[in-house]
């Protein structure tokens, strides 16, 4: 109970701080915070698959792209309503994840990782080549941030950066809350069981493949949400969202922050975006430096930044236990 209260207070404090960001900092910091939140949504959902279920996917960029293109195409051809667009984007990601997941979950470990990689790259080349529909390598342009109309009762404008910031913050908070609840739920426990011992899970009566698929689709939905929001942020959708280098981002971010906690991917995401910004000021080859940093963290911080810090914290507060 005590720990739970402490976590709730900490979450509240972070939320307040996030609310304050666009008022007390410049536009650029607010923009970076949006990027951190988007990567946070992507990674927190992804970690339900990697950290909770124990499946390493290299294809989640495809679902991110499905979210972006889903919202974009819906916006261009049907309606620019942002909430509807986000819903369509997530639905597109879910459908694609169902299809890809159905093919991939019959394998695990490296086979699973390679299958997801292959599927992701197929989606990438599909988007790249279907120029009439997706705009090809130019990306899908002309995505607008129309105001949110709520049944004609109210119009909430999100065109301005400050307004859009809160639009993203809303979905970010919702995603983190959902991921938190999923991790603590019976379903989350079943997923953890699969990660710990898939064979035994079957002998516990858990239809392992179906649960893996569910976790896959769920994490795909988070990716789709992040993708749809990015399409709104940047007013475009780009094929590189589906590229495997983008699929690797939530993997890196989760490793960086720590796989075994909810906050791990969030902290990892913040570090990732901040490091990229800082390093890019000095050099074009930011991936080189980021790689070195990642190496240091993986070798030096077991369980990621969050894992190491919380282990230190536990040691400091309970010195009696060796």
């Amino acid at each position: 109970m005590k720990a739970e209260t402490r976590n709730a207070v900490a979450a509240g404090a972070v939320l307040l701080a996030l609310c304050a960001v666009p008022f007390i900092t410049g536009k650029f910091t607010a923009y970076l915070t949006i990027r951190i939140m988007l990567l946070g949504i992507f990674a927190v959902g992804y970690n339900l698959l990697l950290g909770q279920t124990g499946l390493l996917s290299f294809g989640h960029g495809a679902f991110y792209a499905a979210g972006a293109y889903g919202l974009g195409l819906f916006g261009v051809h049907v309606s620019t309503h942002p909430l509807l667009g986000v819903a369509v984007g997530v639905a597109a990601a879910v459908l694609l994840a169902l299809l890809v997941g159905y093919l991939c979950v019959r394998h695990t470990e490296i086979y699973f990782a390679m299958l997801t990689l292959a599927c992701g790259m197929m989606v990438f080349s599909l988007v790249w080549n279907a120029r009439e529909i997706t705009g090809g390598d130019d990306g899908l342009i002309g995505i607008v941030r129309a105001p949110i109309t709520l049944f004609g009762l109210a119009d909430i404008p999100i065109a301005r950066e400050n307004h859009f910031y809160f639009f993203v913050l809303f979905f970010f908070a919702l995603s983190v809350w959902a991921a938190h609840r999923i991790r603590r739920s019976p379903f989350g426990l079943a997923l953890a069981g699969i990660r710990e011992n898939a064979r035994r899970s079957e002998f516990a009566g858990v239809p392992v493949r179906r649960y893996r698929l569910a976790a896959f689709v769920l994490s795909g939905a988070f990716a789709g949400l992040a993708g749809a929001l990015e399409a709104l942020l940047e007013s475009n959708a780009r094929p590189f969202m589906a590229h495997w280098t983008h699929s690797a981002e939530p993997v890196l971010v989760s490793l960086l922050g720590g796989l075994s906690s909810l906050t791990g991917p969030l902290v990892g995401g913040a570090i990732f975006v901040a490091m990229r910004e800082i390093i890019q000021r000095f050099t074009e080859n930011w991936m080189l430096w980021f790689g070195i940093l990642l190496l240091v963290i993986i070798l030096g911080f077991r369980g990621g930044v969050v894992g190491t810090v919380s282990a230190l914290f536990r040691k400091a507060t309970a010195p009696g236990e060796g």
Binding site: P186, L189, G193, N197, F203, V206, V208
Partner: protein, 260 residues
């Protein structure tokens, strides 16, 4: 004899040229505590693996409560009421003792799909979990991660996870392997007690002959994938073929644990 709980028809299995099950026709009656014994490599574990779905059946049929389950996946057999424990401890290592037992309870009651509900609010689940922990005397360890348990407690947990699936037919693969005598007595008492309660029918694979003869109402002796002898402990003890196999193949097996 009434309707058998589980029966096999010409069940066979080969690993290359090694035959581990040959045309096995077996019936397991409800409520009869059965042991399966045999020298190493006799096909005891193979038999359990075939019956529980761990190994695909190469030839033959398995029926459970009249239904053909030969090709049924593991989790569906578990749902029908067939479960097992493992010879080598095979639990959820990073989860707590209570969580280990919760997973089968959740799966059985169809509550494992709930994604948003808090685990701590599932009071019925908590009660049921504690009842199972009580049965294997692990309630004091409920919040200990499985990795931190002693070997004996791990074996108890192994059985506890299998029990929590509430099976009608439960296979225990060497449940007392590596236990000290005190722990062994405790576990066997638990098994006897549970068998008497009558909710599950136990089939036990064991090496320890003291255990086998004191526990079982029926003993099946396997040898090179075939049934050498099948009957009450007295029948088996008196059987000339059994003596021959045990004395011929592996002198120590039958008497090994007596000497300890």
């Amino acid at each position: 004899m009434g309707e058998p709980l589980l029966s096999t028809e010409k069940l066979s299995n080969h690993f290359g040229k090694v035959c581990t099950a040959l045309d096995l026709d077996l019936r397991f009656e409800p409520g009869v505590l059965t042991s399966i014994i045999g020298p190493n490599g006799a096909g005891k574990s193979t038999l359990i693996n075939l019956l529980t779905g761990h190994l695909p059946v190469q030839a033959g049929k398995i029926r459970f409560q009249g239904r053909d389950i030969t090709r049924l996946p593991i989790h569906e057999r578990v749902r029908m009421g067939i479960c097992r424990s493992f010879q080598v401890v095979n639990v959820f290592p990073e989860l707590t003792v209570a969580q280990n037992v919760m997973i089968p309870v959740l799966a059985r009651t169809g509550r494992a799909w709930r994604p948003i509900r808090r685990l701590s609010r599932e009071t019925a689940l908590m009660q049921e979990t504690e009842a199972f922990l009580e049965k294997v005397s692990l309630l004091p360890e409920r919040d200990t991660p499985a990795t931190a348990l002693s070997h004996g407690d791990l074996r108890l947990l192994e059985v506890g996870v299998a029990l929590a699936a509430a099976p009608t037919l439960l296979f225990l693969d060497e449940p007392t392997a590596g236990m000290n005598p005190v722990e062994r007595v405790r576990l066997l008492d638990n098994i006897r007690q549970l068998a008497r309660e009558g909710r599950s029918t136990f089939v036990v694979v064991e090496h320890d002959m003291d255990v086998v003869f004191s526990l079982s109402e029926r003993i099946i002796v396997l040898h090179r994938g075939e049934i050498l002898c099948d009957g009450t402990p007295e029948n088996v003890r008196a059987d000339a073929k059994v003596r021959e196999v045990y004395l011929g193949d592996d002198v120590s097996d039958l008497f090994r644990y007596r000497e300890e």
